[in-house]
Each structure stands twice: as C-alpha cells, then as structure tokens.
C-alpha cells in the first residue's frame, strides 16, 4: 500500500498540467477490441448521452475507423483522425497499442491532438501503472479522474 502511494506522488510531480481548451465535451477511451472502457462528460450545458448509446457509438466508431483506413487512395492505411460536423468536431488519437482516445468538442476548439496526447500520458501514468488494473477492462481509477479534472479546470 505504501509503495502505491509513493508512486502516485512521484508521478504528480512530473506530469505537465496545462489547461484543456474550453469547449471540450466528452472523452471516450476504446480498447483494441472496440469496447468502451472509459467515458467522461465535461460539459455542464449538454445532457450526457445514456450509457447504452455510448457503448453503441464506441463500437460503431471502432469499425468505421478501420473501414475508413482501408479506403485510403494512397499509402498505408490509418484510421479516422478528425471528423467535422455542424455542431461539434471529433478527434481520435490511436496509440501504437491499439487504444483509441476519442474527444468530442465544440467546433471552435483547436489543438485537440496535443490534448489527446496529454491524456494518453495521464493514462499511461495513472491507469497502466496501477497494479490493480487489468488491461482492456473498464477504467475505475480515482487518480486518473482527478488528474483529468485538473486538466479540464486548470486548478
């Protein structure tokens, strides 16, 4: 127990904390099989989607990411990185291990890809280094939630 607490303290000194741009709406994390392992809603104005909807959207997006990658007219296949719609934009960062970080945000937000990489480093610090966490399972780590809130609110 004391070893885990010590790891938490060390990591908090080295993590860069910077403000997430205002207007980020939702974060999804999808494992390499296409299952949703984490959802977080940041916006206060919009009602969050029901859990079943989130699960369905995540698996649909996972398959569409793969199909869109295969459609490429040139070069090796990579999946969807950004998507623009009229009321929101979506950015997806796929790690070399196959985990996808999906962020929905308002259309005016820029530099979402750096934010996603920061979230990835938070993930590798607080989720993967957690000895009680099994890979590809739903994420229920308090420190990860706290650090995400710090990233969002800048406190």
């Amino acid at each position: 127990w004391s070893l885990l607490v010590y790891l938490g303290e060390v990591n908090s000194k080295h993590t860069r904390t910077s403000r997430m741009p205002a207007g980020c709406l939702t974060l999804f994390i999808i494992n390499k099989a296409g299952g949703l392992i984490y959802t977080r809603h940041f916006s206060q104005e919009h009602a969050p989607l029901p859990v079943n909807e989130c699960l369905r959207l995540a698996s649909t997006f996972h398959s569409m990411h793969a199909i869109a990658g295969n459609l490429t007219p040139v070069g090796p296949p990579t999946g969807i990185e950004t998507l623009e719609a009229d009321t929101f934009r979506l950015e997806c960062y796929q790690t070399p291990t196959g985990i996808k970080f999906l962020m929905l945000a308002e259309p005016r937000v820029t530099a979402l890809d750096t934010v996603l990489k920061q979230i990835y480093s938070l993930y590798s610090d607080y989720v993967l280094k957690n000895a009680f966490y099994e890979l590809d399972m739903p994420i229920q780590c308090d420190l990860f939630n706290q650090k995400l809130d710090v990233l969002v609110n800048g406190k």
Binding site: T26, T60, A68, G69, L83
Partner: protein
C-alpha cells in the same frame, strides 16, 4: 451515379466494391454523427456530417435535401471544401443533369458536358495541384 478520379496513386482492387464500402461507411457515419450531436435529440439532419480526415486523405461530404450525396476525396491538408461541393451541385449538376431532358433521375450520368465542366471546375480549384 458518377465517379471520376484525378491524381489517384493507388488503385483499389475493385471499384464497385470500394463504392459499396464508401456508401456503407458514410451511411453509418452519418447516423452515428446525428446520434452524437450534443444538444440534439438524435434526429437525422442533412447537415450533420461535413468532412473527416485520416492521415492520408480527407473526405468531404455534401448532401442535398433531395437525397443526393456529393463526395470528394482530397489531400489531408485541404480545408473544408463543402462550399465547392455545393457549387458543383448548384452550378454543374443542376445545369447539366437536372435540366437535361434525356437524363432520368437515378440513372448513371452520361452527359459529356457534365464531365467536362466538372473536370474544368476541379482543375481550377487552387488546391488541385498542391501535393
């Protein structure tokens, strides 16, 4: 109804297969986008999906209220060409296809005027030659 490529480097294994794949992908993507919209109640709307990008290409999508879909695939660094697709619809499609008495709705487009003016318009876009 119509397919044309300029500057395409990697040919697909089979064109009808690819077209079916694109159609299926866009159909599900459009539904997903409409479901994901914040503040929306999941209703379908014509304006939902506008474009998406991977690291190798960017797909622009424009749908009219009559159910016609215009899809353009470009380099990833091109900004949203939705207005251009709207121009293709209003300036070229309406002119050469809708007003053509020999062209019945829903059949493949065979008009050479359409092909020529489309090629001229696309080649005239400032993004065409930049790689």
């Amino acid at each position: 109804l119509y397919y044309e490529d300029w500057n395409r480097q990697k040919k697909p294994k089979s064109l009808p297969e690819e077209q079916k794949l694109i159609f299926g992908l866009l159909f599900s993507l459009k539904h997903t986008v409409c479901a994901m919209r914040p503040g929306g109640d999941g209703k379908m709307t014509v304006d939902g999906l506008q474009s998406y990008a991977t690291s190798t290409y960017r797909l622009h999508y424009f749908e009219t209220a009559t159910g016609l879909r215009f899809i353009l695939i470009t380099n990833p660094n091109v900004p949203s060409l939705r207005e251009c697709l709207r121009q293709v619809y209003s300036g070229i499609y309406v002119e050469y296809v809708t007003k053509n008495p020999l062209q019945s709705l829903g059949t493949p487009i065979t008009s050479t005027y359409f092909a020529q003016s489309l090629t001229k318009y696309i080649r005239g876009l400032p993004y065409f030659l930049s790689t």
